[in-house]
Symmetry: C2
Subunit: 401 residues, 2 copies
């Protein structure tokens, strides 16, 4: 365990509101003008060039950091993850660190998608969200599916549509329900979904336990599962959402490691019924992680990740329950994170009750997202004198074409 009092010689990392103190060390992929994308780690307002560190012998990760995605590093496994984290902590510490590390200011760098996404699965693990959305789509009496308290319900999403924060999001066209059959139109009910994304860093070929699943998770990102609610309502029965969630899913560029979040473990809400043994969790699997989303810079909702009913480790264990093989670079969305109150909801669908109750914002009244709207997710776990932050996960809506 890293002592909470350690400071970095990178001064900006020591500010109490820095997302990237010495205790965090999230991994990403960056490029500076005229150079190729490579792996880096965030510290304060700087990026450590990990490829350059390896080249000069400051670090050893088998050459994996020269790649344009973290997959090769993840493939080296938990012992290497731990060793590199310890080494980076030493190199960046105020006491005894190495001030010759190759640093680049984050402000001048381009941040790329941090991983090659193998497959993307999205879950549905906030009880509030499941009930609220279920009530809107199917009425309150059919809101919560029967199996909801027994298994983490999920569906396969579309990996090819995952983009990094800052990528504009084009409003989708699609089939919408019309008066007299369907019509072809731009989605008029474009929404966000505030989620946490877990990144699978080790493969599996058979069923794994929740403890084994947790050990496979390399880290976490913020994730916005953009959703076209009108396309979804018309298409989603009986096989689930398809084009409504296939145009873009935005993730934050920095992968916060499981190791960095370890001090913030927290249990979720009490269970309504016992889980089957394959989903039993020996220790709390959620994190005390404060999340928020903003519309055009104005905070719309705040919610803690620990409202969730299933952890990423439980979701991953369930994902393997049939024997489904998992691969390095698989991305698991937590499902929309919503608390019970309106200002804790992770989607406009819930906040406006399906558009019935618009919200007032500085840029006008909203039911769903308008062209030009920008949505930003943020989040951090608060430690004593430092915080483990995720940076920003942002996307701006472009008009349909």
């Amino acid at each position: 365990m890293i002592a909470t009092s350690r400071r970095s010689w990178v001064a900006t990392a020591n500010a109490p509101d820095s997302d990237f103190p010495l205790q965090n060390l999230p991994y990403g992929v960056f490029a500076t003008p005229g150079t190729a994308p490579r792996c880096g780690v965030a510290i304060g307002d700087q990026i450590v060039d990990l490829a350059a560190c390896e080249a000069v012998g400051f670090l050893d990760a088998g050459g994996a950091f020269a790649a344009s995605a973290l997959n090769a590093f993840m493939a080296q496994g938990p012992a290497v993850w731990e060793r590199v984290r310890a080494r980076l902590t030493d190199l960046l510490a105020e006491d005894g660190g190495n001030r010759d590390l190759p640093l680049f200011p984050m402000v001048g760098a381009t941040l790329h998608l941090p991983i090659t996404v193998s497959e993307y699965t999205d879950f549905y693990a906030s009880r509030n969200h499941a009930f609220n959305v279920g009530a809107l789509f199917r009425g309150p009496e059919n809101a919560l599916p029967l199996q909801w308290t027994h298994m983490p319900i999920g569906y396969n999403g579309r990996a090819s549509s995952v983009v990094v924060s800052g990528t504009p999001v084009r409003r989708p066209m699609g089939q919408l329900r019309g008066e007299d059959g369907p019509r072809w139109a731009a989605s008029a009910r474009l929404d966000l979904e505030l989620e946490l994304g877990a990144i699978v860093g080790q493969p599996s070929t058979g069923r794994v336990s929740v403890a084994e699943a947790e050990a496979m998770i390399f880290g976490y990102v913020l994730l916005n599962d953009w959703s076209a609610r009108d396309i979804q309502a018309w298409e989603y029965q009986p096989l689930g959402p398809f084009q409504a969630k296939a145009f873009a899913t935005t993730i934050s560029p920095w992968v916060v490691t499981r190791a960095a979040l370890e001090p913030f473990r927290r249990a979720g809400a009490p269970r309504e019924n016992p889980l089957l043994p394959y989903l039993a969790e020996a220790r709390p699997g959620l994190y005390d992680l404060d999340l928020s989303w903003s519309l055009n810079g104005e905070v719309m909702a705040r919610v803690n990740y620990a409202v969730m009913y299933y952890s990423s480790a439980q979701q991953l264990a369930h994902h393997t329950s049939s024997g489904c093989p998992m691969r390095i670079g698989d991305l698991l969305g937590s499902g929309t994170i919503s608390g019970p109150a309106r200002d804790q909801t992770g989607a406009l669908l819930e906040m406006t009750e399906g558009g019935k109750f618009p919200v007032e914002t500085a840029r006008g009244r909203r039911t769903f997202l308008e062209d030009g709207d920008s949505v930003t997710l943020e989040g951090h776990s608060q430690g004593p004198g430092y915080r483990i932050g995720f940076g920003r996960c942002e996307g701006t809506i472009l008009p349909a074409e």
Copy 2:
């Protein structure tokens, strides 16, 4: 267009019941003992070693045939596909062919998964199947979803679970609905699904028309989307099938090109209502392709692919309708192919009406698949004096563990 009368100097290719005549030339990936997997083409009972052909200058595909998957070849695009097909036709023709081509007997080769599957999407495009299964899951009055005649309904499947013919299939464990909450058990309702799989050979980044979608399709395989009906029934609402279809999907090893199937174009059933323009097809998009499935060597059902309501090109166009990016190696399952009669059904769920009417087989009565059962899909389009066959797509059930 290749003249139908041309014969090959590989004598076994000229038998009227050979799946692999000169007119077919399906691509695959094979290895012989002690050698690495590489690309090949099937002719009669032989495999042409395409990597060796390139090495000695008989062919030019940019070195793509040395790879252990067809993706690199597909990436070269339709002009190269056409040129290589024409060249192979000349090399293998009885008149003027090249008898020095490096051939290996198929019987001594191991056939590998022919492509690296980027993502796997499964559709639901047989009206009979959609109605039959819908009636079993939701009752006849809710059987056919409202949008079914307006759009090709699909869901994202799990690419990591796609295996090549011959790979044993482990019966999955899972959550099943019990008397008093769910129970953890081996699936007792394990089923097959007879499908055709379309392989995307060119990428797209925005919406594409049906004609453009068709041009992106490299070829087709037989596809068995193994399904655990009891896991499916408990898990699938509201987000679709997940673990019920995540343990294995088997495809045939030979990719029959779109070019080889071109002479067998056929229109489907009349439309019940006009389609929106983005799904309009200028020419018939299905094929006159006779399919069958066998249980332990006994043919259980025969059905023609032209019963389908949507073509693969329409499915692919719909897949891009929101702007969803497609990639080389994406695999699109047609959906279970079923005709109206019991002996035309592509799944035991339909054939036995959910297990109510068992079928008698040489190995005993069946409602669903038992351990040790072997399912084989076969199919071909019948031309004058030759047939374009797919070979076999087979899997045998291993007991749960």
